[in-house]
């Protein structure tokens, strides 16, 4: 039983090691074969495990793989906890990863053009890329399969590392370096909170194993702790700290600023890491910690409000972006906001469900965008596109599916997940749920607006590209289109197929804990009468009308009457400026944090480091040790009788000290 889990987690690692260290020897084909086959095996086994859970043959597994150490009564180990939640995540991660591996073969086939001639970093970049994405798959699997906080943290940091490496993959580009540094620093803020949260768990629970912590949580539910004289609920502190980590990784306001910039990385990465899997780690983590979150209404409220804010306001930004990948990135931010809202409303199942459907359709949208980018010779500005429909039919139709799924067209996968979230928030009574409901319901309109704006600008209307590009426009090769089709299938059907089981059924029975007073999904389940009923109900619901309105607006502005867009831009210049500058978050952070800490650093460096530390402590002590050493070495004279005499002196000293 354990072996299959080991195989799932470690085959991608083996692939990554081979492609990474022996990349030059095995060549390009060797690298993509070894990693794709590794992830393929992992994906097949994951789906096998998932099917086992669906049929009920497979039981929850919780076991230690490697016992690392025991310190102060806390056991540190590598272990797997595989239950329905994990199995779902594993399947999603490995499936999307497999699609991305295949897609990358096509996308990166001309990677050498992205490097300046003779660049050392460009050597074997193709193999390195494959090594990274396989390593990412391994890290992500370790994260979701973990049965303890330490391994969770390891996976958390490892996916962060790979994300950092991949955002800056084209390390010769100034903007890529800036973006990966930014992602790294912003994630530090989140990870600091996360680490504090884990430390608090270790301190008060005296264990870092999920099972122990969850079992002990109810006992500590009412514990108050004193921080700087303020009495706080332990559970709220732990949950909010952990959620700060999730805010960094899952890009929630105000730690969302890194995600749009991460689009500097190659497109497959945006699909895999910055849309489908890594950014959802925060969502997964909160769902996994549901037994803790349920004990703190404060934390849930916090989660809800942050999520709702993210969902609406980042969606607005998407309307004014012109880079095709950035539009999708802001859409990702907004959808992550939806998932977070679901968590805050205690509708964990709905959140995870949206995570799953989103993984498919957002990976699809990104890969489709990548396909467009390939055709456009790496021009990403949608103002230069238009009318691509006739050149790229497969990309067009799959994009349409992705877009419909994203806006929640009834019957598509996104419809089920988004509707359940909106309904859940509607039923929730946690403080802030009114605000959240308003935000998510308006978000539906915004989503439809920016999605179709992009869709129309790219695939319909005038062909605005230059003559040379138009001449070369063609559908992407099969390694690119096959993953698109593969992802399009679940984007359409996965929602209808699984909504009954995952959200309203007992799929997460015993895995996700919801306190009775928060059980909004249970409320919804009472009104759930099969998929068709859900669609019929949704068809006449407010969200569908809003989505239709969004579609209509987009159609009117960008298809019928393109001048309106400019006129609106002119008349609402201030608003446009605000959105275009993304609420000035970047400027604020750069001025306040980046500038401030550099100023502080400079001051400390000049005052503290160079004078005090370097001058006195480091160099001073080094000099002193040097002088001391040079002196003492003369004691080693080489004369036998000196040595013997030293022994006698030692004897005398010991006798005098301990006997007399």
């Amino acid at each position: 039983m354990e072996k299959i889990y080991l195989a799932i987690a470690f085959t991608p690692l083996i692939g990554a090691i081979i492609a990474g260290f022996a990349g030059a020897r095995i060549g390009r084909a060797g690298a993509h074969w070894v990693t794709s086959v590794g992830v393929g095996i992992s994906a097949l086994l994951s789906i096998y495990v998932l099917l086992g859970f669906i049929s009920g043959d497979r039981q929850t597994f919780n076991g230690t793989v490697y016992h690392w150490m025991v310190s102060d009564g806390i056991t540190f180990e590598v272990g797997f906890l595989v239950d329905t939640l994990t199995a779902l995540m594993m399947s999603v991660v490995t499936f999307v990863s497999l699609c991305v591996h295949v897609y990358t073969i096509g996308y990166m086939s001309h990677d050498e053009e992205n490097w300046p001639g003779g660049s050392l970093a460009g050597t074997n970049s193709y193999q390195r890329f494959f090594s990274y994405i396989s390593l990412f798959t391994f890290s992500m699997l370790m994260l979701v399969m973990s049965n303890n906080f330490l391994q969770l943290f390891f996976g958390w940091e490892a996916v962060g590392l790979v994300s950092y490496l991949l955002i800056g993959f084209w390390s010769v580009r100034e903007s890529a370096i800036f973006a990966n540094l930014k992602a790294f620093l912003v994630n530090r803020v989140g990870d600091f909170g996360f680490l504090l949260g884990i430390a608090a768990v270790a301190m008060y629970f005296n264990s870092i194993s999920y099972v122990d912590v969850f079992a002990k949580a109810p006992e500590l539910a009412d514990t108050q702790i004193q921080i700087c004289g303020v009495s706080l609920s332990l559970m709220s502190v732990i949950c909010i700290l952990l959620f700060i980590g999730a805010m960094g990784k899952s890009a929630q306001v105000p730690l969302h600023v890194w995600l749009p910039d991460s689009m500097e990385g190659p497109t497959p990465i945006s699909a895999l890491i910055h849309a489908a899997t890594m950014v959802t780690a925060g969502i997964f983590m909160v769902a996994r910690m549901s037994p803790l979150y349920e004990l703190s209404e404060t934390a849930l409220s916090f989660v809800l409000i942050i999520g709702a804010t993210t969902a609406f306001f980042t969606g607005l930004i998407g309307i004014v972006q012109n880079d095709i990948k950035r539009v999708v990135a802001y859409s990702t931010l907004s959808q992550l906001g939806y998932m977070t809202v679901a968590l805050g409303a205690s509708a964990y199942a709905a959140g995870i469900f949206h995570l799953m459907t989103h993984a498919f359709f957002k990976a699809l949208l990104f890969l489709a965008a990548g396909s467009v980018i390939i055709a456009m010779h790496h021009d990403q500005d949608i103002r230069n596109m238009g009318g691509l429909k006739k050149y790229m039919p497969i990309t067009y139709w799959t994009s349409l599916i992705g877009t419909l799924a994203l806006i929640g067209f009834p019957g598509m996968s996104g419809f089920f997940s988004k509707d359940s979230i909106i309904e859940a928030v509607h039923h929730s009574s946690i403080p802030g749920s009114g605000y959240a409901y308003l935000m998510v319901i308006l978000g539906v309109f915004v989503t439809a607006l920016y999605s179709f704006r992009m869709f129309f600008l790219v695939f319909h209307g005038k062909e605005r590209m230059d003559e040379h590009t138009r001449h070369h426009l063609q559908e992407s090769p099969r390694v690119v289109t096959v993953p698109l089709i593969l992802l399009a299938i679940p984007s359409v059907f996965i929602g209808a197929m699984t909504v009954g089981g995952v959200v309203f059924g007992d799929w997460f029975q015993g895995v996700i804990y919801v306190a009775p007073q928060h059980d909004v999904v249970g409320e919804l389940a009472k009104g759930y009468h099969g998929v068709l009923g859900f669609i019929m109900h949704g068809l006449f619901g407010l969200p569908t009308f809003l989505a239709a309105a969004g579609f209509g607006t987009a159609y009117y502005i960008y298809m019928k009457n393109p001048d309106i867009a400019d006129r609106i831009k002119g008349s609402a210049a201030l608003l446009h400026k605000l959105l275009d500058k993304k609420y000035f978050f970047d400027e604020l952070y750069q001025f306040l944090f980046a500038g401030g800490s550099r100023g502080l650093g400079n001051a400390l460096w000049k005052g503290g480091d160079r004078v005090l530390i370097d001058g006195m402590v480091v160099n001073g002590s080094a000099r002193m040790v040097g002088v001391l050493a040079a002196f003492i070495r003369h004691l080693q004279t080489g004369y036998l009788y000196h040595y013997a005499f030293a022994m006698i002196l030692g004897l005398l000293a010991l006798l005098a000290l301990f006997v007399i």
Partner: protein, 478 residues
């Protein structure tokens, strides 16, 4: 008193190694110089078979035979196997070096095997007499090995110093043992310990004897101020002997300390703890500081050994079973690390050239990136940088000391290991950031390369997965 043949079973490993040693001695007489390799292979095969023999006679519970002179328990089995394997690797590294210098003689391996036998006797000693005899057997073999290169003046001088100082230390040890015998009326550990539990602490004679015993041990381990022989001997001896001297006998010395202080004089823990604190603190301080001023890598590693001995003592002085197993872990890790470190020195030495000076390591990365990486791992492990295993070793002994409320000793340890990190990392700096002076490539046999690579990689592997070795040590201490 009846003799039972079955009581010979636990002693089979010793009997086996003795037989191999005598066999090699005799076979070697009838061989031409070019067939000398047969002695080498016989020795190595003997060591490997000894592992099987030891595993074969191993049992969960301890056995005491020969009327309380000999014990076979978990610790003795584990350490003996460690000694065989480390000696095996030490001989393997030595082979090519000795052949190039016309030192490839049967006596080298015979003496080595007798040294192994001496270590085994120490590891399994259960009376002061056996412990002392094992120590002498080991020392005598080592004296001869240090002087093995008869044309080297430094070697002869080192052997002379080692011999005379060793004799003084043995004399002190014997004097201490005689005091303890006088006070307790026995030389068997079990009876001594039993007698001590009765008498209590007020008997000064015991403490008086204890001081001498501790000094004997401190000399063997090389703790300050009984360390003076180490730099000269490490420096003067052929590097293959230094390698052997610096690795396996440390396990035996650890075992000797455990047998004498814990098994024999355990009830006097409060007394010897203080003495070991003094020795440990002095060793960590002096070893690390003087090592910085060295330009010869053999001398530098000698001082580094002195500082590591300080750490080994930390675990023992804690006096808890966690401390003992931490100490054992440290000793094993140190022996493996030191094996690798000197292995690199041997690797880089060629006919007529000893890679003894720090300058010889300049730009190693350009000459041989792989072994530069191995050396870096080894140096990091010695310095205690995570994720190498040296970090865990230090962490565990420090943890043991802290848990008995000797926080200041732990702080001293940390402080001096920071100072010590300087000279380890200096080598890394020389290898990676300086331009090479000599252009020659590494010219070692495939066996050395492979084993040395494993040795270096082990630093990282054990660093990532320390639990196995740790569990082994914990089980051995029981």
């Amino acid at each position: 008193m009846q003799f039972e043949a079955s009581s010979l079973i636990p002693v089979l490993p010793e009997i086996f190694i003795l037989s191999v040693a005598c066999f090699v001695l005799v076979v070697d007489l009838f061989m031409e110089d070019r067939q000398r390799i047969i002695s080498y292979f016989l020795t190595q095969a003997g060591l490997l078979v000894a592992v099987l023999v030891t595993l074969g006679v191993s049992q969960p519970e301890a056995q005491v035979v020969f009327d309380g002179s000999y014990v076979r328990d978990g610790m003795s089995d584990a350490l003996k196997i460690g000694i065989y394997l480390i000696s095996f690797v030490a001989f393997l590294y030595a082979k090519d070096y000795l052949r190039e210098r016309d030192l490839f003689k049967g006596e080298y391996f015979v003496l080595g095997l007798f040294a192994v036998l001496g270590m085994m006797v120490m590891v399994s000693a259960y009376s002061f007499l056996t412990a002392y005899l094992g120590l002498e057997l080991l020392s005598l073999s080592l004296y001869a090995m240090v002087a093995f290169d008869r044309d080297s003046k430094a070697g002869s001088e080192a052997a002379m110093k080692y011999f005379v100082l060793g004799a003084i230390a043995s004399g002190m040890l014997l004097y201490g043992i005689s005091m303890i015998y006088g006070a307790t009326g026995s030389i068997e550990f079990e009876k001594v310990a039993a007698a001590l539990t009765g008498t209590g602490m007020e008997n000064k004679v015991l403490v008086f004897g204890l001081v001498f015993v501790v000094i004997g041990l401190a000399f063997k381990l090389g703790a300050v101020p009984f360390h003076m022989w180490m730099p000269d001997v490490y420096h003067g001896a052929p590097v293959t002997v230094t390698l052997f001297l610096g690795s396996a006998p440390k396990l035996a010395a650890f075992a000797l300390a455990m047998r004498l202080l814990v098994d024999g004089l355990g009830p006097l823990h409060a007394d010897w703890q203080g003495m070991l604190v003094v020795l440990a603190v002095l060793s960590m301080a002096l070893g690390n500081v003087i090592a910085i001023a060295q330009t010869n890598i053999k001398r530098m590693l000698a001082y580094s050994t002195i500082s590591h001995v300080g750490f080994i003592l930390l675990g023992i002085l804690a006096g808890t079973s966690e401390g003992y197993s931490a100490s054992m872990f440290y000793t094993i890790v140190y022996a493996i690390t030191s094996l690798g470190g000197f292995g690199i020195v041997i690797l880089l030495s060629r006919q007529g050239f000893e890679a003894e000076n720090l300058e010889d390591y300049k730009g190693l990365h350009e000459r041989s990136p792989w072994f530069a990486a191995m050396m870096m791992l080894l140096m990091f492990s010695m310095a205690g940088v995570p994720p190498t295993v040296g970090f865990w070793a230090k962490l565990f002994v420090l943890d043991a000391v802290v848990s008995v409320d000797l926080v200041w000793v732990a702080l001293v340890g940390v402080f001096f290991s920071i100072i010590g990190a300087f000279y380890y990392i200096r080598i890394v700096k020389l290898m990676y950031f300086d331009k090479p002076e000599a252009g020659e490539l590494v010219t070692a046999g495939m066996d050395t390369r492979v084993v040395l690579s494993i040795n270096g990689a082990l630093m990282l592997v054990l660093g990532l997965f320390p639990a196995g070795l740790l569990a082994l040590c914990a089980r051995a201490i029981g």
